[in-house]
């Protein structure tokens, strides 16, 4: 969520419809930002941030592509204002990445053996009953 409004133009039509939800998500993000880190593991600290970021992008993405509830202008406006993450949405359009949790989880250069994150492994391919939480964003599996 942008701290400052970048454009002087008033938001396109339909903004009032999505504004309350976005406000709510922003409040949640604020809370996550100020949450104390005590009792959390090092890697856990950023998990809620990634989660709310994902939720917000998902909200805009669903409204435009799935429910067709908002106009093209409003969608473009949201991307331009960085309310939704355009690169994450770009991945969601690809096959196999429909539910991708975050961009760090597919960044193969960050791993020792040039692999994706454990949450990118399909449930069927994982050994039975194994529960994983990826270290990047706490995702429990975002691939089928």
């Amino acid at each position: 969520m942008p701290k400052v409004k970048r454009s002087k133009k008033p938001p396109p039509e339909g903004w009032e419809l999505i504004e309350p939800t976005l406000e709510e998500l922003e409040a949640k993000m604020r809370e996550a930002e100020t949450d104390p880190h005590e009792g959390k593991r090092k890697v856990e600290a950023l998990w809620p941030i990634f989660k709310i970021h994902h939720q917000r992008s998902r909200y805009i993405f669903d409204l435009f592509y799935k429910r067709k509830a908002i106009s093209r202008e409003l969608y473009d406006y949201c991307l331009k204002e960085h309310i939704a993450d355009s690169s994450l949405i770009a991945k969601w359009k690809k096959q196999g990445y429909e539910n991708l949790c975050c961009l760090r989880c597919i960044q193969t250069r960050d791993t020792n053996f040039g692999t994706n994150c454990i949450c990118r492994v399909p449930k069927a391919k994982m050994e039975e009953g194994k529960i994983v939480e990826c270290v990047h964003c706490g995702c429990r599996g975002c691939s089928g």
């Binding site: 009792g39 020792n112 053996f113 050994e127 529960i131 994983v132 939480e133």
Partner: protein, 414 residues
Amino acid sequence: MALSKSSNTYGRTSWEDSEFPILCPTCLGDNPYVRMMKEKFGSECKICVRPFTTFRWCPGARMRFKKTEICQTCAKLKNVCQTCLLDLEYGLPIQVRDQALNIKDNIAKSDVNKEYFIQNAEKQLSATDHGVPGAAGGPGKSHPPSDLLMKLARTAPYYRRNLPHICSFWVKGECKRGEECPYRHEKPTDPDDPLADQNIKDRYYGTNDPVAEKLMRRAATLPRLDAPEDKSITTLYVGNIGEKMLEKELRDHFYQYGEIRSITIVSRQQCAFVTYVTRSAAELAAEGTFNKLIIQNRRLVIRWGKSQGKQNIPGTTNTEAGARFEPVPGLPRALPHPEELEHNFFNLAPTTSAFPSPYPQFAPPSYPLMAPPPPNPTPNQPELPGFLAEGQSGIHYPSQDPTRLGAINKTRQT
């Protein structure tokens, strides 16, 4: 910034830069396609505190990541795994191995001494074929395999050693990760248990290593076969022989320890008695076969025979003077009985009358050595190899039987 590992190479020549770790099969894990991470000069050796190249890998599913802990020089000096510090050949602690093989090494432990020692050892290692352990007094292949080590050693890799550590939060009752926790949610071992207090230096130098002590204690309680006090017992009990065991199979195996006086098979009780000619052979056989002998896929039970008074073992005689034995071939005797030379048991020509003397047991077969001979021994009685009635002499072993190689026993023909 000039002190980073990649830019500063001053004094780096002596640092170890290896391509592959020295590891035991257990530490490597069951995955043949294991991937490892290598870090040049990644940490200091826990023994000699010099930088070395560390390797890190996951030894299989649901196991913890392992890494090399000591440098390859230190590992080669003791012929141990770089990670678990157990012997590469037997998988046993150094203390146990050194006690069993009687190895005494004087690896320096103080700072300067250690540096000097390691420097010399490295020189020696590089002078010999590099990668061959045991250059500096360590155990090489030259040592004979030790019975004790073979018994104590595991036969298969022990992968439980690679399990994750116990979750310390769970022990305190405050692990919030639940199912996702990669650590083990198990009750920890008793802190009073000596095994709970191990450290890497003690393991390496082989001094008060609790694991080694446990193993040595176990070794002391291993079933042993104590030779009986009675020196006249030369009989071994062989149990669990099954119903189809042939005497030949037993003889084939037991003959390697010494001359056999007799073998009796009691097929009803599925056991056999092997009587040796000498006590030392029996002791040798007991040592060589106890808990080890497997014939026809059966593990045979070896015990010492009971004392002569209780067991009637063919080939031995009981007289009022105590246990008496048949004359044993090759052993010196007091004096030949004069009659012995006169009796011609084989109907041989008189010129060869001295012939029986190397085979004194062909002497009158029906009386013990010291007893006076019966007035009229029956020389024409055919000699039956194998089992005779008590007190009767037989052929001790096949080589004594003159008919065996085709000699014609004239007594039988006449």
